[in-house]
Symmetry: C2
Subunit: 130 residues, 2 copies
């Protein structure tokens, strides 16, 4: 049976994938930190909104998902077509596939710390060089 955090985390991804921004505060703590930097819920929401604006086909696909009572770990697979630059690489609408290995620390049912690493090297290999 799925642990409570797995259910909660899948609901968070569904919230992102459906761009239900008004519901994001159910899943994300007010003082959320991203890769060691406290950015807060508003900046976190804005960053996700900006991503969907520059990546119209953004979708979070779960490849591997593990959780205990406090931490969720997920390997996410993406096949997306970012406009312009992405991670400093000139993607310009090309379809790229890559993964993210990400850990989420929960407190009181909300994500308080995200530790994310993206496979930028995979994207480098796919981006057409001039």
């Amino acid at each position: 049976m799925d642990s409570p955090l797995i259910v909660l985390y899948r609901a968070y991804l569904e919230c992102l994938n459906s761009q239900a921004w008004e519901e994001l505060s159910r899943y994300i703590d007010t003082h959320i930190a991203y890769n060691g930097e406290v950015i807060g819920l508003d900046a976190y929401r804005q960053a996700r909104k900006d991503e969907f604006r520059s990546i119209p086909d953004l979708y979070f696909n779960v490849k591997l998902l593990v959780a205990n009572e406090k931490v969720v770990a997920c390997r996410l697979d993406f096949t997306i077509s970012p406009m312009g630059d992405f991670l400093g690489l000139p993607v310009n609408g090309q379809s790229i596939s890559f993964s993210e290995n990400v850990f989420y620390e929960y407190e009181a049912g909300k994500i308080v710390r995200v530790w994310s690493l993206l496979d930028r090297a995979a994207i480098e290999r796919q981006v057409s060089r001039p």
Copy 2:
């Protein structure tokens, strides 16, 4: 209580940290795949040996650890001093700190697939530029 895979995974890290190479086959499948490529146990062992040779102070520190019956997810913290280049960066013995977000898929009690991402950007920020 720790799940059986957590116990097994911690023993694997202890095997690495103590460079007990003859015991590695207890933890790693003969046909192990690393980031999607089947490399096999011998090449996997050799790669780890080579790392310890070029990084004399290599040590695997667990920051976050989660597991279910089939998958282990770990965020590992490193503070190490690689000789020469590391990930294509001129580290040359400088002490660097970075993390790895890594997933391990187990079958029959051994790791069959590793999905690893290293925080190369963190190292880039630390390496002294000429």
